[in-house]
Symmetry: C2
Subunit: 345 residues, 2 copies
């Protein structure tokens, strides 16, 4: 199957100076992929002309007259920016002309627009932001990372289903384990909402491990970690802050004197490999899960390398039929619920 | 002033094989401090006999017949363990025989016991767990780290006051800045509870910076970061997990071949300094703030070095009169509240 991805070429802190080179590099590495670059046609053509033309035949330009500002209120963007590069890219997914859309634009506007245009999968109340993150054993999926501040137990169960299917589709995990982020492993921990969620997860057909704690994310205790968007966002950003602090400290220690700089020189090849391994750009690309179409959010400040990873994430999802899998699983969960309600009556 | 600290010598995963050597080392470094080791007298005497006796004259043993289990339910410990090493250590603070208590025991039981025995400062609803953590600029205080799952705006304001006074007393900060942990810096972010808290903090006499995000903790954007115990606990443990993962990755990269091991050897002195700088043992010792007495919680798995840092934290608090400062500030805050209510009527 040929996969076509719609790219919001104007989104992000930098815009087409990042999205266009990233798109070209990505196409060079992936000969089966087609891209539709959405944005200001003359500007896009001018930027494309600066780069190698060999992949040009797999690039289509879709003109869009507007751009959503990085700080624009989601509801205003939805109302007033009907011809934005973001909106048009999502329309292309809706119309079936693209199998996925990627944007480095304003997260709130992207979520609101995607939800409005694509709608949620039946049985999913609200989409969630999910990310595949590294851990000592491999990769796990954490969601929600900021779309939903407060979540009901039912919504958290839906996140569990979505994360589980994403891990099954993208990582080939059979029956991925699901953990509920809490402040202790015992059942008595957390508030009523968390306890009810644990109960629902236990009754579901998911491979529910039980409560996990913050350190279990990087330990890789479970394949999926479920949490509300407030907690998930704080956890993710705290980790980003710590990673940055470690980089600063390492640089300071190796830069103290000519002697420590010599040590750094000797260790450089290995430090380079370490740096590459924890490079956040490799994990760029968060999935807006629960929609009837694939939408991937790149970090607004992503560079060319980072944006390429977001494009790769979109293609992997498009190639794995993750939405059909989520829809199936949610439908089954709803059937089970109805059946157990009928039995109870 | 001579400071005397009561040590729950039986608490923690290991107990007196950690607490006793740590106490002795600590006394060797701090000639003005006295310690009361609380626990099983014969066992304590046997352990003390294995170590250098020079500081023995500054150690008092207080016999206690019981030990609180690490997994014991707080309410059961409170009811059934009235002669536990933990309870007796806190009693010594209550009676004025010690200026602070340190325990590596069960956090829930320690909090419940401390609250029951010492009571909270007037105007403080619930104590919080606070920790001084490193950031790229220096040190900040984060609270609550797990004592209170759900918090009212009033309680979060109280945490702000307590954290602010702790930073003023221990770090000599004049008018420490206070940030409210949220998922975005804009005022519209977060749920109603967070927005009401921001409003209260803005109206207070605290140096309120506004919302901060997870990465601001390590950036050192504010001196104090206020959050509910659920969010704070997840953030702290996520950071711990990431730090551990980085250590594993560094070890793996440097251990790949004889060549990388050679690189490691060359970089060892600098890597050692880096490791020392981020050593979590240096930040061991969380304060149970809001009580009418100083109680410091050591990590249950702390080793001798870690426990020494918890003892140091207790002594610093005891020497700085932090409780009187918190009490003053809270009283003022209550007065202001009454006055503005009177003006409103």
């Amino acid at each position: 199957m040929t996969i076509t991805v719609a790219v919001d070429a104007m989104g992000g802190d930098v815009g087409l100076k990042v999205t266009v080179p990233a798109s070209i590099q990505f196409l060079q590495d992936h000969p089966d992929i087609h891209l539709i670059l959405v944005g200001d046609q003359p500007a896009l053509e001018a930027e494309l002309a600066l780069h190698d033309g060999a992949v040009r035949e797999r690039i289509l330009i879709q003109h869009a007259t507007q751009v959503v500002g990085m700080d624009e209120a989601p509801q205003l963007a939805l109302k007033n920016k009907k011809d934005s590069s973001m909106r048009v890219a999502i329309n292309l997914v809706k119309e079936g002309r693209a199998q996925a859309a990627v944007s480095a634009g304003n997260t709130g506007a992207l979520m609101a627009t995607a939800r409005f245009v694509l709608k949620t999968i039946p049985g999913i109340d609200r989409p969630a932001i999910a990310k595949l993150l590294p851990n000592v054993k491999g990769t796990s999926c954490v969601l929600d990372l900021g779309a939903n501040v407060d979540c009901t137990p039912e919504q958290l169960l839906q996140f569990g289903i979505m994360g589980s299917e994403l891990m099954a589709c993208l990582q080939g995990k059979a029956n991925p384990s699901v953990g509920l982020l809490n402040i202790g492993s015992e059942d008595i921990k957390g508030n009523d909402n968390i306890k009810k969620t644990a109960e629902l997860l236990r009754q579901s057909e998911l491979n529910f491990y039980g409560n996990v704690e913050g350190d279990d994310i990087c330990k890789g205790t479970t394949d999926v970690v479920v949490c509300d968007g407030f907690t998930g966002n704080v956890a993710l950003k705290t980790a980003e802050g710590l990673a940055h602090m470690f980089a600063v400290f390492l640089k300071e220690e190796f830069g103290r004197s000519w002697w420590t700089r010599l040590c750094a020189l000797a260790a450089l090849p290995v430090l380079g490999l370490f740096k590459k391994r924890i490079d956040p750009r490799r994990y760029n690309g968060a999935s807006l899960l629960g929609l009837r179409g694939i939408v991937v959010k790149s970090h607004g400040g992503a560079d060319v390398t980072g944006f390429r990873y977001a494009l790769a994430q979109a293609c992997e999802e498009a190639g794995s039929d993750v939405i059909a899998h989520i829809a199936d699983r949610v439908a089954k969960q709803l059937d089970n619920l109805k059946q157990s309600e009928a039995e109870a009556n």
